[in-house]
């Protein structure tokens, strides 16, 4: 940071509609406290899932194993149940476009071969996916490594960029909270952890720190015009998050309702965009209350005053 340059002119406050937005004027304690309380609730929800399900998220095929088949059929659930009674059918989900997704739990090889044989005879070319338990277990352990590594690497980069403990912790906490809130909402709305939603959670790291880095870079420096700097940053940041939410909103609508135009739905993209929207909404709160509250508090604290004059 150019601490001594003192080139920070009074920031322009007119940055489009977002700068005229009336932003709740919370005291530092509330601005920090409310998001932390939300984070706590999110952690509790995730903890509850961990206790009841055995994993912090409901696991999808990639991580739990099993077999999923999508059939174009007008048979009723009961008919399908009896048709596949010889196999461990665990769930039938209907797609708005009229196809049925059948999910089977783990089977041994002979049973699986008999199922796929039956399917290729009676439902040729039906989308089919099978994940064995060895593979899903390996995926689980890799996922844990990947997300921990991604987060730690991100945190390291943040420390290298700002080299100031409290602001770094503020950015990292805010990113962590974004992800945890998205995870809690996934639990509430029963969105499963698949490769797709896992990618979305990692994507959130990037989107989340974007606005936090903008805010922190702008605020760390001369203490002059602190409030105005935050307001002008917020206009920029809200445009950024707004654009992202709009894009993922459209993606969500298309991937869910494409069948209206005669296409099939794209479940992977639908769940990715849902998770992204969860995280981006959380990011508005975490960046512009939690992170900016922490920064304001830090800049006014004796330590911050000593460092940034």
């Amino acid at each position: 940071m150019d601490e001594k340059k003192g080139s920070a002119d009074e920031p322009e406050s007119d940055l489009g509609p977002f700068s005229k937005l009336k932003w709740p004027d919370l005291r530092a304690r509330e601005a920090i406290g409310i998001p932390l309380a939300v984070l706590l609730i999110a952690l509790l929800i995730t903890g509850y899932t961990l206790l009841t399900v055995g994993s912090p998220l409901h696991l999808g095929l990639d991580f739990k194993g099993g077999t999923v088949v999508t059939l174009k059929t007008d048979k009723s659930d009961a008919q399908l149940q009896s048709e596949f009674s010889g196999y461990p059918l665990s769930l039938i989900a209907r797609d708005p476009s009229g196809s049925a997704m059948l999910r089977f739990s783990q089977m041994d090889t002979t049973q699986l071969d008999s199922l796929t044989g039956y399917l290729s005879k009676n439902y040729p070319g039906a989308p089919l996916e099978h994940t064995g338990s060895t593979f899903s277990a390996a995926n689980q352990s890799q996922a844990v490594i990947a997300i921990v590594a991604a987060f730690v690497l991100m945190a390291l980069v943040i420390f290298v960029i700002f080299r100031d403990f409290i602001p770094c912790i503020a950015v990292i906490t805010s990113a962590f909270s974004d992800i945890m809130i998205a995870v809690a909402l996934m639990n509430i709305f029963h969105i499963e952890l698949t490769f797709g939603t896992f990618a979305a959670l990692l994507m959130l790291i990037g989107y989340s720190v974007d606005t936090d880095i903008l805010l922190t870079t702008k605020v760390l420096g001369e203490r002059k015009y602190l409030e105005k700097k935050i307001t002008s940053c917020r206009a920029t940041g809200l445009t950024m998050t707004g654009a992202a939410i709009a894009a993922f909103g459209v993606l969500y609508i298309i991937s869910n309702f494409a069948y209206l135009a005669g296409f099939s739905t794209i479940p992977v993209l639908a769940s990715i965009s849902t998770v992204m929207i969860f995280g981006l909404v959380a990011d508005v709160m975490n960046t512009w209350f939690l992170n900016s509250g922490l920064l304001k508090w830090y800049m006014e604290s004796p330590q911050g005053r000593a460092k940034y004059g």
Binding site: D9, P11, T109, G125, A126, N139, D210, T236, L269
Partner: protein, 434 residues
């Protein structure tokens, strides 16, 4: 005013950042080579299973003798080449066979069969070939010696010294006791022991000859007295000999693998669904871009800002796709998620640049604008760095299932900070401060 505007364009055209962008765009279009035929847009882009349809099989490998021992790199390589040969034999060229290891060192083979239904793919993977050895009797006639079940202990291709003292490739193999006796009997009965040069030993896989060489004089001599249970099939000293040796080594095993395999994941995507996904994804991306455009309009209201921003974002995607075509990357659904991530973070960074340049105050000087631009780039490079490091672990995750996502996102970030965003920064500061 008009003159001034003209001056601006002239200045822009002479800027290296703008040139880099233009060249990158032209190259990308060249690599993509878009064309229109049969009512469809055609490009050089390759698409993965998600969009092309087909089947995939993921196999975990276990050592035959001791299942808990790790698979050696040589065994893994051999398994891979056997699989490739099997698949080629089936008439499927260019079917990629990939090998990976997980964090515990377990080895896996991943195969994507484009356009092949599930049951067919599984039968190719599970198929065992019929190996046979025959010996020439007279002219074009030959007689049966033994089948693959009499062969044991086939070596990898290794260089040997041949009779002329030259190094040549060959495969050492063993025969069972019964096999060795059959071999000896066939050679004696057909007079090969006395006239080895006119009695070729042939090897066949599924009744097709893939190896045919005369019986060596040395072997012929010793066969006169006793059966031999170890011999070498020589193939030649040149590159052809080396390839041939590989084929022999694989085919003698009848296409059977040196390891036990377990299907850990498999599935199929119907081609119609893939094609539908492709169209839906393209439409979704275009509409997402429009949604971003709408937010930009809501925020800036000025076409002279929105237009360059919008175009830059589209250029970023075009260059990204150009690079994908250049490196021959197969676009799958995770790659599409990556493209979306690139569009989104790209727009975010263009907004940062714009707002930074917009707030140069009432009396903008070149120095001030440059200062603002460099502070915007500090932010951009910082957040790009975090995105890149967050993506790196994904490279290894899920046996490459999310590699497309990681690669596309990282590529997009680099294209953004190296090519498109510098040019945009230059263009927008000229537009806003002329």
């Amino acid at each position: 005013m008009a003159e001034k505007a003209q001056g601006m364009w002239a200045k822009l055209i002479s800027d290296w950042r703008v040139w880099v962008l233009i060249i990158a765009l032209l190259l990308s279009v060249l690599f993509l080579a878009p064309g229109y035929s049969d009512g469809q847009l055609k490009t050089n882009l390759k698409f993965g299973l998600d969009f092309e349809g087909g089947s995939f099989v993921k196999l975990k490998l276990f050592n035959n003798s001791s299942p808990n021992e790790p698979i050696s790199p040589q065994t893994l390589e051999l398994t891979k080449s056997i699989m490739e040969l099997k698949i080629n034999e089936y008439g499927l060229k260019n079917t990629p066979v990939n090998t990976v290891r997980d964090d515990q060192g377990n080895a896996y083979v991943l195969i994507d069969f484009a356009g092949i239904p599930y049951d067919e793919a599984m039968s190719i993977v599970g198929k065992q070939g019929k190996f046979e050895m025959r010996i020439q009797t007279q002219g074009n006639n030959s007689t049966h010696i033994l089948y693959g079940d009499d062969v044991q202990g086939v070596s990898d291709p290794t260089p040997h010294m041949d009779n002329n003292g030259q190094t040549a490739y060959g495969v050492t193999f063993g025969l069972t006791k019964a096999g060795a006796e059959k071999f000896q009997k066939a050679c004696i009965d057909n007079g090969a022991t006395t006239d080895p040069n006119n009695h070729y030993v042939m090897m066949l896989l599924d009744d097709k000859v893939f190896y045919s060489r005369p019986l060596s004089a040395e072997l012929a001599n010793s066969l006169k007295t006793k059966p031999e249970d170890t011999m070498i099939a020589m193939t030649g000293a040149d590159a052809e000999g080396q390839t041939m040796a590989k084929t022999v080594s694989v085919h003698m095993r009848g296409g059977s693998l040196p390891v036990n395999v377990q299907v850990v994941s498999s599935g199929q995507v119907p081609a119609e669904q893939g094609a539908m996904f492709k169209t839906a994804v393209v439409i979704a991306m275009m509409l997402a871009q429009c949604a971003i455009g709408a937010v930009m309009y809501f925020r800036y209201r000025e076409p002279r800002i929105i237009l360059p921003m919008f175009l830059t974002s589209i250029f970023e995607v075009i260059i990204l796709l150009g690079v994908a075509a250049f490196i021959g990357w197969e676009i799958d659904l995770p790659s599409v998620a990556g493209i979306i991530a690139v569009i989104g973070t790209g727009i975010d960074q263009l907004i940062i640049i714009t707002d930074e340049v917009m707030t140069t105050g009432r009396a903008p000087t070149t120095k001030k604008i440059l200062q603002k631009l460099s502070s915007a780039f500090k932010i951009i490079v910082s957040s790009a760095a975090t995105v890149v490091v967050a993506m790196v672990p994904l490279w290894y995750m899920g046996f490459g299932a999310l590699k497309g996502f990681a690669i596309v996102t990282i590529l997009g970030v680099f294209i953004g900070i190296l090519i498109t965003r510098p040019a945009y920064g230059r263009i927008i500061s000229d537009i806003l401060n002329k």
